[in-house]
Amino acid sequence: AQDTSEVEYDPEACFAPAPNNDGTVQYDAKEGPFTLAISNSFIGNAWRTQMIQMAQAFSETEAVAPMIDELIIVSTGQDVEAQIAAMDNMIALGVDAIILNAATPTGFDAVVRRAADAGIVVVSFDNIVTAPEAVLVNEDQVEFGAAMARDLVERMGGEGNVVMVNGVPGTSVDSDRNTGAKSVFEEYPDITVLAELEGRWDSGTSQTVMADFLATQPQVDGVWVQGGGPGVIQAFRDAGYEDLPPMAGEAENGFRMAMGNGEFEGISIGQTPGMVAVSMQAALELLQGRELPRIISMPLPTVTSDEIEEGVHYFEGLPDDFFTPIKIPVCGVDLDPEAILAVEVQ
């Protein structure tokens, strides 16, 4: 509920060390402008598209534009090898920094080492990698799950049936968020996890699984959904629920809109595509010689039904699957939807 524009870019605040941070990283300062390369894996859904748009939009903001000579973005799909090869190509090309959203967390140790050996800054975000040479920019996924759970339990008055809608099984983000949430629920003897559904972070799937589940006429007092919240809400609507139970979910515009319109109480935490911009910011700082924590934990973009506001936390008239947390002023990321969606595809 505050006018964000007066907050200043503050590296200290933006690049706060994560609880599990294991030291700091520093490179010798280089002369700009720099060539940044973004290696993205999968492309095709709203989040990735917006992430790419935000990267481009951010690179054009007058604050950073002068420092960036060229921004190269390549998406290689889910196959690890192709992405590794893409990074090798970036190394071969001699870019200054590689910003990485990985197809798998564990597969990149070797190539990241090759990049480091070549003196290239590697910043990994979202699906972060295990490589010790990489600087990691992410939200604390365990805390992510836990925070959602805490708010939910509170609103449920510490008792009742929770339904958990998980992400893609076999991924670390999924199991981290899940672990975080469970750790909270376990503290409350009167909270029962009625069901864990496989929502795969995709609105369609989560709608289907939720619909299937609701059709068994269960007593649901709270919903904890990793992603695909709009689908879950839709499922409730179709099942003819008058008022929705408290929910904890992601930050899709649709989810927050429903929250804003008072359809339900709850919390929304965003895995913001904006972290690509933060990662670019980090890369630029490192290239200029600033010392940063190796594992950077971004603030969790959080909003609850109590403080939510149109135009700040969500945007009427934007697509449901637009990811709302786009302003991270402390990190010098202050884009508005127009700028992002105006990005040219030429």
């Binding site: 790419i52 889910q78 690890v80 090898e81 090869a85 099984p169």
Partner: protein, 358 residues
């Protein structure tokens, strides 16, 4: 079939062309793409780039070989990807921290055995159940990915670095630095230099081809596999052991998929139950790109290998050509579509419409 008689009168050369047309196309496409890449990336002919180009294709190559051996029988294997995931997960779960000796060999043997077993199961169900391969392997693929997920609920696991290096680095890096003498000269210098250009993965592929594929292809069993694919009824009538041939093909499929999984493990130095999935459809695509008929009876791995390299070069080209990121999927699709269509250009040389339907 008298329409074919004109072909019979064709000169040996024309016949050769006709027979290997699709294969030829596959190689042309691959070399064109290689050319484009090389022209866009002046550092292309450097050891690291050559190595990464080889490595990025390798798992797909093995996936394609797996698919090829099954497709030759006229079948199809939708469980190639999941078997790769399963192998990758299994390996990452059974490598022992600290033991970089015997354990590695045991794990490799175990993974190969499990892969072959998975193939065996596919084959037995298809042959004795007389069921349609596509649906059988669709079902087993679900089972195998379940097992992978069970072995590896979340990414990780330990994989010995030495194992990874052995498969993914360059021969030059693996040989002791003074292998060709302290400061080599003349032929030694050349060799020293030469081997620095040779990716270990290439050697690995050649070994697999020489030790596994060629003996299989050239054996009586291999001949039977082609025969069954060409005309199963006739095979049976001719006293071919149809069941053995079919099952063998699926076992080969499982084995190659496992090899792919082993290589993926070497390259990612970890396990992830979800990384194999993409290989199923890709393997089918490259098999066809490589000129193997989905109806069975003809084709081989040479084209498949070319197809794999081609498919993997596309993102590289998009990268060096600085294609707008949001347009990349479109270009990728376009190139793939073009490649598949090119294989069809032969149609215009065929003079009897019946031949186009065979």
């Amino acid at each position: 079939m008298s329409a074919i008689e004109t072909r019979e009168t064709a000169a040996p050369f024309r016949r050769f062309i006709l027979r290997n047309f699709r294969l030829g196309i596959a190689f042309v496409i691959t070399f064109v793409l290689l050319g484009i890449t090389a022209s866009l990336n002046e550092r292309f002919f450097t050891p690291p780039v050559i190595t990464s180009t080889a490595n990025q294709s390798m798992t797909l190559v093995f996936a394609g070989m797996a698919q090829t051996s099954v497709v030759i029988t006229g079948g199809i294997d939708l469980s190639v990807g999941p078997i790769i995931s399963m192998s990758n997960s299994l390996a990452s779960a059974t490598f022992l921290e600290g033991d970089d000796g015997l354990n590695i060999i045991l794990v490799v043997v175990l993974v190969l055995a499990v892969g072959a077993l998975a193939g065996l199961i596919n084959g037995l169900i298809v042959v004795y159940g007389r069921l349609q391969p596509i649906i059988v392997t669709l079902a087993t693929s679900s089972v195998y990915s379940g097992i992978a997920l069970f072995l590896r609920p979340r990414p990780g696991g330990y994989v010995p670095r030495i194992y990874g290096d052995l498969l993914t680095r360059r021969v030059g890096q693996l040989l002791p630095s003074d292998f060709f003498g302290a400061e080599p000269s003349g032929i030694m210098a050349f060799l020293n230099n030469f081997f620095d250009y040779i990716p270990a993965s290439l050697i690995f592929l050649i070994i697999v081809l020489v030790v596994v594929w060629i003996p299989f292809r050239r054996s009586r069993l291999g001949m039977w596999v082609y025969a069954v694919g060409s005309n199963e009824g006739a095979a049976y009538m001719s006293g071919v052991n149809v069941r053995l041939a079919k099952v063998a093909a699926y076992v080969m499929g499982g084995l190659f998929a496992a090899i792919g999984g082993l290589f993926l493990t070497a390259q990612t130095l970890s396990g992830d139950a979800t990384t194999g999935a993409v290989f199923t459809l890709q393997s089918i695509a490259i098999v066809v790109l490589g000129g193997t008929s989905l109806f069975g009876g003809s084709g081989g791995v040479a084209g498949t290998i070319a197809g794999a390299v081609a498919l993997r070069l596309i993102p590289t080209i998009l990268f060096f050509a600085r294609v707008n990121p949001l347009q990349q999927p479109l270009w990728e699709g376009a190139v793939i579509l073009l490649a598949v269509t090119a294989g069809a250009s032969r149609i215009f040389t065929v003079r009897s419409r019946l031949d186009t339907m065979r």
